[in-house]
Symmetry: C2
Subunit: 223 residues, 2 copies
DNA sequence: TAGATTGTTAATCGATTAACAATC
DNA sequence: TAGATTGTTAATCGATTAACAATC
């Protein structure tokens, strides 16, 4: 459900004011971050919006506009310093907060997420796993022990967990979300294909894996 | 890269013409399908756009507009017949083609996808798994044997596979995509976080799991 | 019939792309 | 300096929401 951000028509010209950033822009930031990291790995020092655009399949003006909404990171006539821009984009995304995350539901998907190395490389700390199955509780996945979901609230507080990742079957997902909210997490990343409801103060991102496959079916049906 | 569909300004009024359907509309169709199935399970015969909207968090006029772009499925003053609409939406999505799918890369994520029951319930047939690791080749995941990736082209043709699901490490993903294209698949569902390139005749949907977590970080950093 | 709800056109809103002055 | 490239405003494009006639 799109949260309507009140829009400011009369914003002053050059003050350090927080303009409203579009969701589309925010969704592109992680892609800029990754591409900058790859460029860094290639030893590139300076990159233009045109080159970034070529690598990502975006128009250069879109990239410039996205970045400019957070500050003036480039040098006219030159481009962007890769290291500096990467650090800035990472900081905008809050990756340097090194959030503590937990996964709830250690089935096939939960276990795969627990082993996903990209989260580590983005700076997230996997600090807890939870399941309800006595056969799974006590096991270790990627060096983290699976805890009884009964202990969720206690451990979320103890380990200062800010983000909960829900990978339980649909029927239990809303209940787990409610528990996470009560335990005090600030964000939920949900993989259950349901319309999840959380208080407006909690940030929710839902992944729906069956959308992609279904839309693929739609397209190949028509070709 | 958005494929520009030539737009028809001068479309005739009431003929069975295929108007251009927006990507946003297509992405919502799988959600309609799922919600209709749930309503069906609840024994509901007739549903209004308002009720569908409440269940999904969409405006009813958006749902009516989406559906109306494919035909007149509702009854004025009454609503939509759940069974009939679900059948129609499923057919629009091409789910009744029961596409044959294969997963390439049977690591944690690939194995999780191989076990994902929602694909089965959407009518997809998982008919092949591929890996490159001799320790994985020959194993059975969800009743399907893992084949040597060397045999990809042969098996894709033999088993009439239309959709390839890529779950290999980023470094190998483009190469696998190229092989799938050569083998004759019509669509690729990619989980590697790269900018994948395929011919314009091949449909590509990429899932990028780190976007969701990064944008969550963005939002909780700012609250 | 009266009330309800669709299908569709018009109005609004938001996001992308184009253009160009500023400046390195 | 001349050439290149940013940052930003304006124009365009596309998607959502509002309004309402049609009709069950």
């Amino acid at each position: 459900m799109p949260v309507k951000t009140p829009k400011r028509r009369t914003r002053s010209k050059q003050s350090a004011d927080k303009a409203v950033i579009s969701k589309a822009t925010i969704d592109r930031l992680p892609l800029y971050f990754r591409t900058l990291r790859l460029a860094q790995d290639e030893g590139i020092d300076i990159i233009s919006s045109e080159d970034l655009g070529r690598r990502l399949g975006f128009m250069p003006e879109q990239i410039r506009k996205d970045l400019a909404s957070f500050g003036q990171f480039g040098k006219k006539g030159v481009g962007y310093y890769v290291n500096e821009l990467k650090r800035n984009v990472g900081s905008i995304l809050g990756l340097d907060n090194h959030w503590n995350i937990a996964i709830i539901g250690i089935g096939h998907l939960g276990a795969a997420l627990a082993n996903y190395q990209n989260f580590v490389s983005l700076g997230f700390n996997l600090v807890a796993l939870f399941d309800q199955d006595p056969n799974v509780i006590g096991q270790t996945v990627n060096h983290v022990k699976v805890e009884d979901i009964q202990r969720l609230k206690k451990i979320v507080k103890e380990r200062n967990i800010q983000i909960g990742i829900i990978a339980v079957p649909s029927a239990f997902a809303q209940g787990v979300a409610d528990q996470l909210v009560e335990a005090g997490v600030r964000g939920i990343w949900n993989f259950a294909p349901i319309k999840m409801r959380v208080p407006s103060s909690i940030h929710l991102v839902s992944e729906d894996l069956s959308i992609g496959l279904s839309t693929l079916s739609y397209h190949i049906t028509r070709m």
